[in-house]
């Protein structure tokens, strides 16, 4: 998995590409911590390039959500693959996170 960062409408977008599992979720965690440390108004995590995520990846995103709430950052997950959405549903976290299909939708009803 590789993690890059982009900008979209003035907001940072963290973009992991590849499976996120116990072997590499720490890379995503470090990147999210670094970006959240700058206390952006909004942070998008684009998951279009993540075909598989296990509970270590989910835990990383839960941690990011907790930090976001403390910082006043709006965390938005976007473009989840069906398989990744499935684990959020199983963990009953699909209603806890703000999840949108496209980056553009992060702007709506924020």
């Amino acid at each position: 998995m590789e993690v890059t960062e982009e900008q979209f409408n003035g907001h940072p977008v963290v973009v992991p590409v590849g499976d996120v599992d116990l072997g590499n979720s720490r890379d995503l965690q470090m990147h999210l911590r670094q970006t959240l440390g700058k206390k952006p108004k909004r942070l998008l995590v684009d998951l279009a390039g993540v075909p598989h995520m296990d509970s270590s990846g989910v835990a990383t995103l839960v941690e990011a959500m907790q930090v976001s709430r403390r910082n006043g950052t709006s965390l938005v997950l976007c473009a989840m693959t069906d398989r990744v959405r499935s684990i959020f549903e199983i963990a009953r976290l699909d209603k806890v996170f703000r999840i949108v299909d496209k980056r553009e939708e992060a702007e709506e009803n924020a």
């Binding site: 116990l22 296990d54 270590s56 907790q66 684990i87 963990a91």
Partner: protein, 167 residues
């Protein structure tokens, strides 16, 4: 048999095989998780499960391995893990009804009844693996192995037409 917190008893029989159809051994290192997932997904597909269910079965195995690596072997990289897979059949050997996956280790033993999922309402990082395993699989039974280590017996049935592509 020491029975842990399975959702139900294992009831389907393996399809006339004492030995598993597939058996692999991996060390307790996260870098091999992807390879195991790919194998499990492929085998489940050949046993008739649709791609979405194959992905969930692979996820359950992944979560079981993560728990063994993190908690059983305390992240030691030289532990051994054995994964065995059978088709399950009933009432006749030619009538395949699902898959059985047994994961064994020689890690520290815990009482099976202490292996629990956390309260999902308590939103915090971690602690989801057991919940995922029990949610995905029809049977998930933890046992102590004689002589050391733990065993997890998991089964998933081909319950409906959308899941059943077996030929």
């Amino acid at each position: 048999m020491t029975q842990g917190q399975g959702q139900s008893d294992s009831h389907a029989e393996t399809c006339d095989h004492v030995m598993p159809d597939v058996r692999i051994e991996v060390v307790s290192q996260p870098r091999y998780l992807a390879g195991v997932r790919d194998l499990v997904r492929a085998v489940a597909g050949r046993l008739g499960f649709n791609p979405a269910i194959c992905g969930r079965i692979a996820l359950a195995v992944d979560e079981a391995l993560c728990n063994i690596i993190n908690h059983g072997y305390d992240k030691r990289p030289d532990g051994r893990i054995w994964i065995s897979i059978w088709p399950t059949c009933e009432p006749k050997p030619e009538h395949q009804v699902g898959i059985r996956i047994i994961i064994e280790d020689s890690a520290k033993q815990v009482e099976p009844e202490t292996i629990k999922s956390r309260d999902l309402g308590d939103i915090r990082p971690g602690g989801l693996g057991v919940h995922i395993i029990r949610e995905v699989m029809d049977v998930a039974i933890y046992q102590k192995r004689t002589g050391g280590g733990m065993r997890l017996v998991m089964e998933k049935r081909l319950d409906n037409e959308s899941e059943n592509h077996a030929s």
